[in-house]
């Protein structure tokens, strides 16, 4: 009964369409849509299965990729730890080098180094005294009882 109703509906739908356009035009349209390259449907299952097989291989890589985050995190941790230990060792070595170097430098060399690096300002004491006395004379204000 239900199938009968569907068939009646379909006939009425088709009648509406056939009233608009001819049955030939509708069939011709569908025939056009059904055009495919030769052997397309014979080769299609093989093409799909090949893609599935190649995807399976890709999936293996994806499985590895799932662990990639952990691998990256482990690598970063390892690099950081090694780097920390290594840099600490360098720092210790550097300190040792400084200590040894100071101990090994002869006193004469240290003296020479201090002398060559010390900032000496050569002061011409006589000219400085003269300059100061000139200033004194210029700024001199005599007392009232100073008659000479």
């Amino acid at each position: 009964m239900e199938q009968e109703d569907i068939n009646i509906e379909l006939i009425s739908d088709k009648a509406i369409m056939e009233a608009l356009v001819s049955k030939e035009a509708l069939s011709s349209m569908d025939a056009k849509l059904q055009q495919v390259p030769p052997n397309y449907f014979d080769e299609f299952p093989t093409a799909v299965l090949e893609k599935i097989r190649s995807e399976k291989n890709k999936t293996k890589i994806i499985h590895f990729a799932a662990f990639r985050k952990i691998a990256i995190a482990a690598a970063v941790l390892l690099i950081t730890a090694t780097g920390y230990l290594f840099s600490d060792k360098i720092l210790q070595n550097k300190n040792e080098i400084v200590i040894v170097a100071i101990e090994e430098i002869p006193n004469e060399e240290i003296q020479k180094y201090i002398e060559s690096n010390e900032v000496f300002v050569e002061v011409d004491w006589q000219s400085e005294i003269d300059k100061a006395s000139t200033d004194l004379e210029l700024n001199y204000i005599p007392f009232n009882n100073d008659t000479n």
């Binding site: 739908d13 356009v21 030939e24 509708l26 056009k32 849509l33 055009q35 299965l49 893609k51």
Partner: protein, 179 residues
């Protein structure tokens, strides 16, 4: 010839999945391909969509619970895949469908018999339809599917499928009359 259910069980339980899968694919490949093509997709794209959907079927078939018919389930995947493709390529699609001048001049210059001219006109009219109306029209008219089945494929109600079909017919009618 084995039934769908038997093939699906074989796929789900056996180590050799390729044999039952190929049997299902061979049984439904033409109808699925035509369904895609009827939505206004050319061969190259229909081939791509069909391949992608069958790969999807391969991955999902293990969890298929046979609550609906296998065919309906595959057609639903085909419908969704095609709709996704159309939406992704909406601009390109609109350019192809919206280029009305070409087909009008083709029609005017055509020496073809009247049936062929009407076919061109009908194709254009169908391509002008919104995707949902287009697929309902095609499934109803060319596949002679019930509205229940169309509703199941499109995940819509029977009323919705009927409304879409009648809207489609009205639009085709007004398109043909306007030319």
């Amino acid at each position: 010839m084995q039934g769908d259910q038997e093939l699906i069980i074989q796929f789900q339980q056996s180590e050799n999945k390729e044999a039952p899968f190929t049997a299902l694919l061979k049984k439904y490949q033409k109808r699925v391909y035509y369904q895609i093509k009827r939505m206004g997709i050319d061969h190259a794209d229909a081939d791509d969509i069909a391949q992608q959907l069958w790969i999807k079927v391969w991955h999902k078939l293990d969890s298929f619970k046979m609550e609906s018919e296998f065919g309906t389930w595959v057609f639903r995947i085909a419908y969704n895949e095609t709709l996704n493709f159309i939406q992704k390529n909406k601009r390109l699609n609109a350019k192809i469908i919206g280029n009305n001048n070409d087909w009008e001049s083709d029609l005017a210059a055509s020496d073809q018999p009247k049936t062929s001219q009407i076919t061109i006109l009908l194709e254009r009219a169908v391509l002008q339809l919104p995707e949902k109306q287009r697929i309902v029209f095609m499934l109803r008219y060319f596949e002679a599917y019930s509205y229940e089945k169309i509703g199941e494929i499109m995940e819509t109600t029977v009323g919705g499928a009927k409304a879409n079909f009648h809207q489609a017919v009205k639009k085709i009618e007004s398109f043909i009359k306007s030319v």
